[in-house]
Symmetry: C2
Subunit: 299 residues, 2 copies
């Protein structure tokens, strides 16, 4: 997990990573977060005004309702800190999308898609300037829409999910399987001219173009922001996806595809925005000039 101490003017005073003690159970993770927050807070000038937290699964502003990976069920926001200050929770991908919206590639754009492509794929739909999570918080599962309805079975059990063709993990896995190798990483597949690698990458690009055409026709975004590890591929990703997206759309323009601006800091910066909202300062953020680290800390 990552954490930071972010000032009223957007200065990142401290930013650290710690392991997530998942194996020790749900309560141990909550306790680790509590300790992490106290540690970050102690580095500041007095008690922080608020805490923001980006968490996986189903989440409301004041409760981490459900997270399979971590075993959480209805953990109140206040459980995450020993400090007597306001806390606001957000969904992990949507909190990254909030940061891209307020501080990053989507600054000033009320309606866009933020699509981080990493080990998995999920999207943050920014609609009317805010992340939209659906009726019950399960929205944005673009990684599991059926792009090839009779396609391969995804780990989730469904057929032909975008994620099973186009996530970084899937690109590596599908190539390794076909080439009879082990543990080849997506970035190696992208840069290879081995015909099998070209084929696997082509299928990932095709899957992405179907998903983005679908999103465009349904939600008419001003632009699509691609992030996550796979977006580091740059033109090798953007150029063919753009070409195929344009080709799939007959009666409307394709929205521009642009790279995310905040890299791996999106979640932490979005959490900082939530922290300032918790503190009653929702107007903060739009004026911040954020120093973005050029290289990902983790892939």
């Amino acid at each position: 997990m990552k954490g930071g101490l972010v000032s009223e003017s957007g200065a990142v005073l401290l930013s650290e990573r710690r392991p997530t003690p998942r194996a020790d159970g749900p309560d141990a993770v909550v306790a680790a977060i509590r300790g992490f927050i106290s540690h970050l807070a102690a580095a500041g000038d007095g008690v922080p005004a608020g805490v923001g937290l980006a968490v996986p699964g189903l989440v409301s502003a004041d409760t981490a309702l459900y997270a399979t990976n971590l075993g959480w069920r209805d953990v109140p926001a206040t459980a995450f800190t020993a400090l007597d200050i306001p806390v606001m929770l957000g969904h992990d991908v949507r909190t990254g999308g909030l940061a891209e919206s307020v501080l990053g590639a989507g600054r000033g754009i009320p309606d866009f898609l933020f699509l981080p492509i990493g080990t998995g794929i999920a999207g943050a739909m920014i609609l009317h300037g805010e992340p939209y999570g659906g009726a019950s918080g399960w929205g944005g599962e673009i990684g599991h829409i059926p792009v090839f309805p009779e396609g391969e079975q995804c780990a989730c059990g469904q057929l032909g999910c975008l994620e099973t063709y186009a996530s970084a993990a899937s690109v590596g896995r599908r190539y390794s399987l076909r080439a009879g190798l082990e543990g080849v990483r997506a970035e190696q597949v992208v840069s290879s001219d081995d015909p099998v690698a070209v084929e696997v990458w082509d299928e990932a690009v095709e899957a992405l173009s179907v998903a983005l055409a679908t999103y465009t026709l349904l939600l008419d975004p001003t632009m699509i922001v691609l992030g996550g590890g796979l977006a580091e591929a740059g033109p090798a990703l953007f150029d063919p996806v753009r070409t195929r997206l344009v080709k799939r759309l007959a009666f409307r323009d394709a929205p521009p595809l642009v790279p995310a601006a905040l890299g791996v800091d999106a979640g932490m910066l979005g959490a900082a925005l939530l922290g300032w909202r918790a503190a009653g300062r929702p107007e903060l953020g739009s004026g911040w000039a954020v120093d973005v680290r050029p290289e990902p800390l983790v892939s």
Copy 2:
């Protein structure tokens, strides 16, 4: 075109249909609407408080920006009436969705999809209680999402669009073509046990299940309201679509599929709501008890 005079309490005092003089050009259609509105207004007790209009194409509250079918470009709302009263425009499908949301099957449900399946297919996405049209008003084109990415070419030029498999017109056309017949209508295909008819209907159902699974995973609606001529098929549509939608979703529940409540009056009633909004009475509608005609006037 259809028009009506609707009172403050939701009473439909008058409701009529007139031909749309499309062949006479864009201005003739505007003039015909102007005449129709004056006629409806004259039947009331004094001058109406406002006018609402559901129009096709790209539309803002005060301008009909663009409609290919009618040849409109930037027609101001005020051009549609000779009366000196406020006018509000809405997109045709989204105005029907507004009516289903305020008065119909979606009453009290902030987030759902209204999907009328008729000659064509387009959806009204109700999000946070209001129809959402996307960044520039072109959203909701679920009829043209690529459900079978390598499928048949749609009249729009794209490949594998939902509409080209599952609209009433397509079901009739595809069956007629395969059976070597002419002009068979969708309702005949649905009720036939001819193996070719069963196959065509099966493909329509499959296309719908892919589209609705996609919508569900992206937008997490509370429910999906099916309307339009094809929804008159009742269980022959709802049952197999529901079964396949459930089957396509592995890690989340399928939202309930429910029939639209307002039939062919949805657009007119939605326009009435817009008219009352134009008149400064946005609160009207939720208390109305609407008499819905059981049979469609047009298919």
